[in-house]
Amino acid sequence: MLFLTELTFLKHLARRFNINTPQYLEWPAARYDLKDFMDRANNKALAKADILTGSRGKGGAVVNINSTTEATKELTKLSTAYLKEKQARTAYLVEYIPQKCEVFTAITYDSLSCSPVITISLHGGVDIESLDSSKKRSFVVENIYNGIDAYQVGGWLGSLKCPKEMISKLAVAIVSLWDMFISCGFMSCEVNPWRITKENKVIACDFKATLDSNNFRQNNLGFDLPEYPEDVSDFEEEMNAWNNSSYQGQAHVSEIPQKATKKRKKDNFDEQNICNGVLPILFGGGASLIVTDTLIKCGGDPLFLSDFGGNPPYERMKKSMEICLRHHLKDAGVLLILGGKANNTRIDVTFKAISDAIHEYAYLRKGRTIPVIIGRGGPQLINGILTIKETLEELEWPYAIFGHDTPISMVAEYTASLYKFIKRNPKALRSLNKHFKGEF
C-alpha cells in the first residue's frame, strides 16, 4: 500500500479536481516568501510536518503560527520531527481557515457490500472513531460504474440534516473527492475536516489517502510520489522492488517492529556472536501468519515476515533468497525454511534455488554458518529435500528436515527453542564458525 499526504494533495491533486484548499507554502522557503505568505494569511497559519502518520495534531506535528519568525522556527523544527516511529520528510505552512462548521468525509471499500462507501459526519475535525454512531453515516455507492452525482450526495446530506445553504457546495466538493478517488486508483481517502466558511465556501483542510498498488491508475498519477525517510528498510525496499518486477511467485517481506517481538538489537557481544532472531523463509500467506505467530509466542524472534509462495520460478526464488541472506544472515541464529504442503509450488525448483543461493552467498563469500530447520510438503518433495540436504552436508551446516507430516506450528515451536538455546550459548554459534572472519 502507498500513502498520500496532505502536502502531495495540495501540490498535485487539489487543483486538478477543483477542490478548494487553503494557501500553502512548502519549507524550505526564503524569508521574503514566508513574510509574504504570513501577510496574505493575516499572520494566522498552521505549520505542519509532512509525515506518514495520522494524529499529527495530538502528536505536536501541527503548530499554530502567528509571525514570520515563529514560522521559521517551527518549520525548521517540524521538518525533522519524529512521530510514531516515522520521520518527517519536510514541513509546510497552510493558512488558517476560520469556519462555522467542520465536516468529515471518507471513501473506502466496504468488505460486505463489495462497494465503495462514503462516510460523512457533520461533526468533523475530531477522530471519527470517537464519534457516536448517530453522528456519522455510511452511504454505499450503489453503482460503481456510474459513480455518484451531486443530487445523490445532496440527498445524503439532507438525511444528515445538513443546513440547506451548505448542501450544494458540499455536495459538489464530495463529488470532486469521489472523482479523485476513482481516477487515481485509491483504496481509501479521507478529508477531515472540510471547513465551511461563513460564505459557505468548502475548503479541504486535511487529507490522507492510500493507493491501491494493484490499480493501474496509480501508475498514471502524473507526478512522482515523494520518498519519505526511513519509510522502509534497505532490505524491504530491495525486496519490494524485486517483488514488483514480476507477478510470478511472491517475494513479500515486512520488517517486524521491535515491540512485536520483544527482541533486543545487537545484544550479543562481538560480531561473530550477533544473534538477533530466526531468518524465516516462509511459503504461503496462511502458513506465514501461523509460523510467525508461533515463533513470536515461543520467543523465536523472526527477523521479518515473509511469504515466498505462489510457485516461484528458479531465478525468482534464488534472488529472493540471496537478498534475505545478504541483509540478514549476519544477525540470524537459525535459518527456517518452512511452508505447508504446497498445492502447486514445485519444491525441487524452490529448494534448488535456495540451495544455490546459500552456496553462493553464504559459503563462497565466507558467511557464517547457522543451523537450518526445514519443513515442507508438495510436488517433487524428495528431489527438493535431497538437493538441499546435499548442499548443507557439503557446507557442513547443521540441519533437520521435516516433511508435511509434522505440523508447521510444531516445527516453528522447535525452531524457537533451538534459537533460544543458540542465543543463550554463544559457544554453540562460535563452534560452527571457527573460520568466520566478520562481514562477508
Binding site: 476513482i182 507477478y247 515476515l305 520460478p313 498445492n343 508435511h404 509434522t406 554453540a428
Partner: protein, 699 residues
C-alpha cells in the same frame, strides 16, 4: 448468491473451462486436476488455439484461441458451467466481461445461461476491479469465488477446481465429513492433514481467497455448509481484515444450529503492526471486527466457552464449537467435538502429529544441544521413504556444487608460510607421509585410511610401470628418442598412445565394480570385512550369469559384445587357470597379511564362476589394471557411500595411476634409447611397407 447448496459450487458433473490455460501454473494445475476428476472440457489462451494439453493416462485438454472460440467449437452438452481464471491481473476484468457478454448473448438468444460460477485464481487484482466484477457477476446471476482463491475440492466426487490438494489430491485429502472454509488455500491442505490424524475426512475444502474484497463471503459458505447433510463439522481458518466474520457470526446468532464449528484465527502479531504485507492483503481498518483481537472476541463470545486447550475439561459443554489457539491442537480438538457429540468418525485415526525429522544432521552442534531440544529419531513415511531410498541410490556418490573455478582451487594453497594440499601441510607430508599417499591426496583430497591400502597402491603402481619394450607407450617413447625429441616429447608421446582400446581398461573396470556393488540391496557394506564374502560371492555369481546370458544373446544375433573389463590378459591365457604374476604378488600380500579385499575377491570369484559355468573356456587372468581398479574401489567405497567423493573422480583415479606409471616407464625407455640408440634407428625399411593402393605410374 446463485448457489443454493454447497454442491452447486462443485460436483462431478461440472464442466470446467480454464482461461490462459497454457500459462505455467494453469497448465500444470489443469493436468493434475484432469488426472483427478476429468472435469476440464477445455481452455483458452491467446494465439494458442488448436493445441492440446496432454494429460498422462487421460483425455487431452483442447486449447481454443478465446472464450468465444471455445463456445463455438464445443458441442452444446459440454458447454462450460464453471470457469477458472488464471489470466494476469490486468486481464482479469476483460475475461470476466467477455464471459458475461457471451452469457448475456446466450440468454438473449433463448439459450440457457450456462456459467454458474467463476473462480478467480489470479492474485493482485485491484480492489476497484474486484468490486466491479462482483456487481457485474451478481447482475448476471453468477457466483464469483476469489479473487486470489486457490479453488475448491470435493473428495467425495473426486473433483476439484484450482490447485487444492497439490499434485496428488487423491492422497492428501480424503473424503469425509468436515467442510473446511479457509482464507488461505494452502491451509486447506494442512488442515485436511491434521483432521486426517483424528480420523476425519473432508466434505468440501474451500479457499475463499484473502484479497481486500472476498467476493463470496464466509457467511454465504457457512449457510451452505450448515445446510449440507453430509457436513458434520465446519473448520474455519480466518485472518485479520474485513468484516466477514462479524457478519457470519451475526448470521449464526440469528439461526439455531447444532453443527459444531472450530475456528483458528491466524495473525496475532498483526495487532502490533501497521501495514502487514503478506500474500493476503486483507489488513485494512474498517472499525470493530477487522483486527485479530476483534475476531477473537467475536468468536469467543459466540461459542461462549474458552478456547480449546490440550487439557480441555470434559465438563465444558461445547454446543457451538470453539476456537483453537494452536493449529496442531486441531486433531485433538476435532476428536473432542466428535466424541462429545457422539459423532462417528470417517475412518480410523492416523498417527497424531509429532516432530518427525525425515533427515537430520546437527554435526558438532548436536553434541552441545541439551537433551530437551534434541530431536527424536524420525523417518519418512511411505511412499516418501521408498522415494528417498531410490533417489538417494540414484545419486550415488557426492553431487559436487558447481561454481566458477577461475582463480580458485581446493587443491593447493599457500597461506603465507605453509604450502598446503587440500589443507594439509606439504612439510608434514614430506616428514610423515609417503609419495604414493600424497599423490592420492592431491588427486582426491584425502589419504588412504589404512596402511595396507598405501602398500597395495605402491605395489600396483610398480606393476603398472611397464608391460615391455614392445608395448605401445614404450614404443612411442623410443620413437621420440630416435627422432631426437626431448624427454618431455617422450612423455607426451607415451600419453598419446593411450586410448579407448589401450589403457582405458582400468576406467571401465572400476566403473564395472562400482556399478555391480551398488546393485546390492544394502550396498553400504564394509568391503574389507570377510563376513561379507558370501554376499560378494553371490554378487560375482550373478554377474557371471548375467554376462553369460549377454554373451549368448550377442553370439546368437551375430553381434559383437563387450568383454568384462579388467580380466583376460592377452599373454596369460593358455593355462586352465591363468594368473598375471604381478597380480599374484598382490594376492599373496593380502593372503599373508590376512586381509580380505571385497573387490579383489569379487574378481577372483567372477573369473572362477565364468569358468565353472562354462562361459569362458578357461579361467581368465585378472589384469593388473583390473587389480588397480579393485584396489582404488576398496579405498573409495566408504567415501562413495557417505557421498564424500564424486563417482566421476573415482572412475578417473585408476586411469591416472595407469597413465602416470606408464609415462614413467616410457621415459625410462626414452632415456635408454637416447643414450644407446642411433638417430632415426626406428625408421622402418620402405620395402617392409605394404602398398595397398593400386596406382598408375604415369600419373
Amino acid at each position: 448468491m446463485r448457489a443454493k447448496k454447497i454442491t452447486d459450487f462443485l460436483t462431478k458433473n461440472d464442466r470446467v473451462a480454464v482461461s490462459n490455460i497454457t500459462g505455467r501454473e494453469a497448465c500444470s494445475v489443469s493436468i493434475n486436476s484432469q488426472r483427478y476428476g476429468q472435469n476440464i472440457i477445455g481452455g483458452w489462451a491467446l494465439g494458442k488455439g488448436g493445441n492440446f494439453i496432454k494429460v498422462p493416462g487421460k483425455k487431452s485438454i483442447p486449447v481454443f484461441s478465446d472464450y468465444g472460440d471455445l463456445l463455438n467449437k464445443l458441442p452444446e452438452e459440454i458447454q462450460p458451467n464453471k470457469i477458472v481464471i488464471y489470466s494476469p491481473p490486468n486481464a482479469v476484468y476483460g475475461e470476466v466481461k467477455n464471459i458475461i457478454r457471451h452469457t448475456k448473448s446466450n440468454t438473449n438468444n433463448g439459450l440457457q445461461n450456462k456459467v454458474e460460477t467463476i473462480y478467480i485464481i489470479t492474485e493482485n487484482v485491484s480492489v476497484e476491479v474486484s468490486a466491479k466484477i462482483y456487481h457485474l457477476a451478481q447482475d448476471n446471476n453468477i457466483d464469483v469465488v476469489g479473487c486470489n482463491t486457490l479453488g475448491i475440492i470435493s473428495p467425495h466426487d473426486k473433483v476439484r477446481i484450482g490447485a487444492i490438494g497439490g499434485d496428488s489430491p487423491w492422497s492428501s485429502i480424503l473424503p469425509g465429513s468436515a467442510t473446511i472454509i479457509s482464507n488461505s488455500g494452502n491451509m486447506v491442505n494442512t488442515i485436511a492433514s491434521y483432521l486426517k490424524g483424528a480420523g476425519i475426512g473432508v466434505r468440501y475444502g474451500i479457499s475463499t481467497g484473502k484479497d481486500k474484497l472476498i467476493l463470496t463471503s464466509i457467511k454465504d459458505y457457512l449457510k451452505l455448509a450448515l445446510n449440507d447433510r453430509k457436513t458434520k463439522l465446519i473448520m474455519l481458518y480466518v485472518e485479520p481484515g474485513g468484516l466477514y466474520e462479524l457478519d457470519a457470526v451475526n448470521y449464526l446468532k440469528s439461526i439455531k444450529t447444532s453443527k459444531p464449528i472450530i475456528v483458528y484465527i491466524g495473525g496475532s502479531f498483526t495487532q502490533k503492526m501497521g501495514n502487514v504485507k503478506l500474500g493476503h492483503a486483507g489488513a485494512v481498518v474498517e472499525g470493530f471486527g477487522t483486527s485479530f483481537s476483534d475476531k477473537v472476541e467475536i468468536f469467543d463470545n459466540y461459542f461462549n466457552v474458552p478456547p480449546f486447550k490440550r487439557r480441555y475439561h470434559r465438563n465444558i459443554k461445547v454446543t457451538r464449537g470453539f476456537r483453537i489457539e494452536v493449529l496442531h491442537d486441531l486433531p485433538m480438538a476435532a476428536r473432542f467435538i466428535f466424541d462429545s457429540k457422539n459423532l462417528k468418525r470417517d475412518f480410523n485415526e492416523y498417527r497424531p502429529p509429532r516432530l518427525n525429522p525425515w533427515l537430520k544432521n546437527f554435526g558438532e552442534l548436536g553434541k552441545l544441544i541439551p537433551p530437551k531440544i534434541q530431536l527424536p529419531e524420525g523417518h519418512a513415511p511411505e511412499p516418501y521413504a521408498k522415494q528417498l531410498r531410490k533417489v538417494n541410490a540414484d545419486k550415488f556418490g557426492k553431487m559436487a556444487l558447481r561454481r566458477n573455478m577461475k582463480n580458485a582451487s581446493h587443491v593447493a594453497a599457500l597461506d603465507g608460510k605453509n604450502l598446503r594440499i587440500y589443507g594439509r601441510r606439504v612439510s608434514n607430508q614430506m616428514q610423515h607421509g609417503s609419495f604414493i599417499s600424497t599423490m592420492f591426496l592431491t588427486w582426491t583430497g584425502f589419504t588412504p585410511k589404512y596402511d595396507f591400502e598405501v602398500k597395495l597402491l605402491e605395489s600396483v603402481m610398480i606393476g603398472l610401470l611397464t608391460n615391455g619394450a614392445n608395448g605401445l607407450t614404450a614404443q612411442a617413447a623410443k620413437l621420440t628418442a630416435s627422432a631426437g625429441g626431448t624427454p618431455l616429447n617422450a612423455m607426451i608421446s607415451s600419453l598419446s598412445c593411450m586410448g579407448n582400446d589401450y589403457s582405458s581398461s582400468s576406467y571401465r573396470a572400476i566403473k564395472f565394480l562400482i556399478d555391480k556393488f551398488h546393485e546390492l540391496d544394502s550396498y553400504e557394506i564394509d568391503v574389507y570385512d570377510s563376513n561379507n564374502s558370501k554376499i560378494i560371492s553371490n554378487l560375482a555369481q550373478k554377474a557371471a550369469r548375467e554376462f553369460g546370458l549377454y554373451k549368448v544373446n550377442a553370439e546368437d544375433n551375430l553381434d559383437s559384445y563387450e568383454k568384462v573389463p579388467g580380466i583376460g590378459h592377452p599373454l596369460f591365457k593358455d593355462a586352465t587357470r591363468n594368473v598375471d604374476p604381478r597380480c599374484q604378488v598382490i594376492f599373496d600380500y593380502l593372503f599373508n597379511n590376512n586381509i580380505y579385499h571385497g573387490f579383489i575377491n569379487f574378481y577372483q570369484q567372477l573369473v572362477e564362476f565364468l569358468f565353472l559355468e562354462r562361459i569362458t573356456p578357461n579361467q581368465l587372468a585378472i589384469n593388473i589394471d583390473g587389480v588397480a581398479a579393485a584396489i582404488c574401489a576398496g579405498i573409495f567405497w566408504e567415501r562413495l557411500c557417505e557421498k564424500k567423493i564424486t563417482k566421476k573422480r573415482v572412475y578417473n583415479i585408476p586411469l591416472l595411476m595407469f597413465a602416470f606409471a606408464r609415462v614413467l616407464g616410457g621415459t625410462g625407455e626414452y632415456l635408454d634409447h637416447f643414450d644407446y640408440g642411433t638417430p632415426l634407428d626406428m625408421v622402418e625399411d620402405a620395402q617392409h611397407i605394404k602398398q595397398l593402393t593400386i596406382f598408375d605410374n604415369e600419373d
